[in-house]
Symmetry: C2
Subunit: 614 residues, 2 copies
């Protein structure tokens, strides 16, 4: 059954994953610290290039099984967030967009060279001034009738392409998003393939690339700001799968409206969110493994005042750790479902991709921070990798769409086509006539559904009331009066969706610890919103106290099986580098200088061995 | 009234603070990034040395007004967490301990040289194996009858002094905590002054010092692991204010019991917690200023779809920012009170010092993380300093006592001498006969008091029931069955205490925004525990909905006055370096490489100026 659990967690491409993991046995992937920026970037580049050269995944997998690419992100997430970030831009944002929207014959050789990282691409969407409103961007692509070319130009400081991964050191190509202008008329944002450096990495004329410098994480990523001064590209470098410009400057598109065209062109952000969740989720798993192993080997005060109690035996430690473990499992099953939906369908997964990226990255930031704290000083050493986890999660929270903004998108999607007219009254039980009993008999899932439906009805009613009052009234109601409700609804949907997937998982594998983790996740989510349930009269004070007691009991019952769950993450020992997850007494018996790289073969300055058995 | 608010926030030594801030006008204090570890450590050293040389504060202030030292930490917290950390060890842990427990005449010259950082000290308390149970440490100080010396020795890997700030590069002296052993008998942990390096920074014989390497923050701090191989020191280097050893090896102490002697010797940890709260709280203020300024200048989608709405106008941004601001103010007033208590009394402030350190550092970690997120990509650039804030807060959370452990200490203190016998029954209203109405009429403060008293009674009753069942039963009840309750009680006490100080502050200054922030803080804390209030029948569903609505309303009402509050932090413009808090469009008009240091005088590669007015 443990094997079944592992398979449920890894979801797909089991053999491929093993091959991918084995690539990282190479000492090239041993974590290194205290590198200067240029070294750190070069290291991330070399790591990714070597990974790509193994020929285990390809940009063309987007047309076969995109889960192979997601798997590569998951495995990379265990190893190096910088490498994974460079990879996601190369394969998903750059490669995926070129594959989907570029002229296949013309760009076949570029596409093929993406796979072994021989030609490197970047993705020029975000501008300094237009982080969350890219459709208003300023960069222009003006068709020049006299030469049949597009002229790419950045008219202002705010129009610089900003945060461009792979941009400062390694990119040959950039997919530049720009307002397409023909004979003075604007047709909205389109994508253009622009050569920014030649094969020898010399900058092309008119292209300015600046270093964005140090960040609070993933410093192996060479983020750049890029601007264009009248850079000319052939007309065929418009990515023209949906919109074309002919040799006479005639524009045609099968998509109506500028906003719709923009959203279509930015489609790869959707799978990008899955990629980010993939790498972040696995970085979280690594943090859980590290923290758990240390909690087992680290001794604190026991009943007799001696330092003989493993800290994982403390209820305080268990009550911190076990809920995070249950949530990690839950998000894993939710995330797998989103990957499967994407692979099967590729459509109508907007709200699923948005909500899972937000939930996974927020969970990662929270859990790695808390695990760092519960690991005390050891967690503060760079070599134990919690810092990478925190920095990586922060990157994920605002990359490929700010989580808070994505949650608004989710709420909008949920209201789309939702019939408000069914709901006659404000009171919950009347709002959902005859359904309350059905919800309640469904256990925790029923409760979460009830909350989701209730919030949805409330928001829908609010928006309904201002529907006829014009654009500004609608904007105000949404942006200035319903911020909490919008976020709450999106999260309630996400939690219900994730719990459904967890229930599905327990039907595939009946390991008692899995069933308990499912119950724990469900009850934690009820507890998280217990003020709502109590204030609506759905839970009583007694129900609430029972809920809290049961959560404590579950934490206790699951604690002895933590190791089984951690093992099911299938993280091979050669990927575990954090000294605190290993024999940290031995690591401290010589002058490690905070590093595991270049660990001395002969420990010449070894300290006297510990008098305490460990 | 704005001036009055500033004074309430800064609390004491106003002129001194201005002088301190002015020291940091020097370009030496301009933030720098992408430095190698040795450079970063040297920079922190030079910054601190220059600060010390201004003669604005002194270790002897512990005997006059210790708030001068806390003020130095607060001001330093705006500038450089590494410098502040080195300072707190030099002045508080090392200096303060030597001042309090060392022979004054003998060590007068060392004490004087602490002040200008001419002689540098470190504090050897924590051992690798004994983070939270230092009383069980292994390092020994054995009295050698033949030479009348103590021999300091580290018998094992686990006994290495660990995380020793100032240790790897700069310390001449170390106060080593060790088990005092005379003629085979152990007298418990005492402090000894040990010279670890000579004046030219050459290591003394028998002392081994290793670098701890990269950390997830404050990398200007030269943390070391230190071990001693039979290092001899004069008998007079025992810090002997409370315990003495005479020339015949006769031990005497005015303090009974090993644990009590250890706690006495580690007394400086108490003011150390104030110091950590001081620097962390001000780093939080800097984060709030930075985030607010950006939220005002950054434009997002407005009602017409254009990027023309400052993001601070969004309810989502306000509902995130304003509560953090109110909590920052609240903790500020609570923290000031702890400083005042300490300065007046120096005794019976254990639970106040513990709870304020925990609350401030947790708040800082949370708020800087959230503000980073709400600042999007800009917040991710190192030069905008949120990374420093997050790394610094994490250091604070587990330094000078792990927050979770300190909260247990607080709960223990609260139960100390508390009469459980008064409480006859389990039911809340019976537990506190006749008092409920009194509590309720006290508004939010009454509610917080009610909760604190109720949790205290519950925990006291639990412990009462196992009192006679022996050590193991007591341990189990506390450690394995009451973890949540212990933490909840300590936090409930802290929140009530902080709210009382906020109420006091509103009596000193009647600025409407201050009064609103106080109400907001109070209501946020009720909301945080609203499940408890609802489940106990103290709040109704209607009360709860009113509470939530009022919080939203307060956020809206306070929003226009955020700037007034931020200004009252009294952060001079020359201390604001984050580009996003300034003209970030101008900063992005040239090749900044992510740095503000060495900003070019002539912007030779300036980009074309923005077409968008800003």
């Amino acid at each position: 059954m443990e094997k079944k659990l592992s398979e449920l967690i890894e979801n797909d491409n089991f053999e491929l994953r093993e091959k991918m993991k084995n690539v990282f046995k190479d000492p090239l992937y041993t974590p290194r610290y205290n590198l200067a920026l240029p070294e750190e970037r070069e290291l991330a580049y070399r790591r990714l290039k070597n990974f790509c050269e193994q020929d285990l995944f390809s940009v063309f997998d987007f047309e076969g099984d995109p889960r192979k690419i997601f798997a590569a992100h998951e495995v990379a997430g265990l190893v190096d967030g910088s490498m994974a970030t460079k990879m996601t831009v190369q394969f998903n944002l750059f490669g995926g967009t070129l594959l989907k929207f570029g002229n296949r014959e013309r760009f076949q050789s570029v596409l093929e060279k993406i796979n072994n990282f021989e030609e490197v691409g970047c993705f020029g969407l975000t501008e300094l001034g237009y982080g969350n409103n890219a459709v208003e961007m300023e960069t222009t692509a003006i068709w020049d009738e006299s030469t049949d070319e597009f002229i790419i130009d950045s008219p202002s400081v705010l129009s610089q392409k900003y945060w461009i991964t792979n941009g400062y050191c390694h990119a040959h190509w950039c997919i530049v998003f720009a307002q397409l202008i023909i004979k003075g008329e604007s047709y909205g944002v389109h994508g253009f393939l622009v050569e920014v450096r030649d094969k020898n990495l010399n900058l092309k004329q008119g292209v300015t690339i600046h270093d964005m410098g140090m960040k609070i994480g993933v410093n192996g990523v060479d983020n750049a700001k890029i601007s264009f001064n009248q850079v000319r590209i052939p007309r065929a470098h418009l990515l023209d799968a949906f919109s074309q410009v002919d040799e006479k400057g005639l524009f045609s598109s099968e998509i109506k409206g500028k906003r719709a065209r923009f959203l279509k062109m930015a489609d790869q952000l959707l799978s990008g969110r899955i990629c980010i969740a993939s790498m972040t989720l696995n970085a979280t798993k690594m943090g859980m493994l590290t923290s758990y192993r240390y909690s087992k080997s680290r001794k604190g005060v026991g009943p007799q005042g001696k330092s003989d109690a493993p800290i994982i035996s403390y209820q305080f430690q268990q009550n911190t750790f076990v809920p995070l473990l249950a949530e990690t499992l839950a998000l894993c099953f939710g995330h797998n479902h989103v990957k499967n939906l994407y692979a099967e369908n590729k459509k109508n997964v907007v709200k699923e991709c948005c909500v899972i990226k937000a939930m996974v990255t927020w969970h990662s930031e929270n859990s790695v921070s808390v695990l760092r704290e519960r690991s005390g000083g050891q967690g503060y050493l760079a070599c134990n990798r919690f810092g990478e986890g925190i920095g990586g999660a922060h990157a994920g929270i605002t990359a490929e769409g700010d989580n808070g903004v994505l949650m608004q998108k989710v709420a909008k999607e949920l209201l789309d086509g939702y019939k408000v007219s069914e709901l006659a009254k404000n009171k919950l039980k009347d709002l959902l006539p005859g359904k309350l009993q059905k919800f309640l008999s469904g256990g925790e899932l029923g409760l979460l559904k009830l909350r989701e439906e209730s919030l949805k009805a409330e928001l829908a009613l609010r928006m309904q009331r201002v529907k006829s009052k014009g654009r500004e009234a609608i904007y105000n109601k949404w942006v200035n009066e319903s911020a909490d409700l919008v976020q709450d609804l999106a999260l309630a949907y996400g939690q219900r969706f994730v719990l459904e997937r967890f229930e599905w998982a327990t039907k595939q594998c009946s390991l008692p610890v899995l069933i308990k983790c499912k119950e724990l996740y469900a009850k934690l989510k009820i507890k998280e919103s217990s003020s709502w349930f109590l204030s609506e009269g759905i839970l009583s004070g007694r129900d609430y106290r029972k809920l809290c007691a049961r959560i404590n009991q579950l934490n206790k019952e699951i604690a002895p099986d933590i190791e089984l769950v951690i093992n099911s993450f299938n993280i091979p020992e050669f990927l575990v580098h954090a000294p605190m997850a290993k024999d940290w007494v031995a690591f401290n018996s010589y002058d490690h200088q905070g590093e595991v790289y270049n660990r001395p073969e002969k420990k010449s300055d070894e300290l006297r061995s510990s008098s305490i058995s460990h």
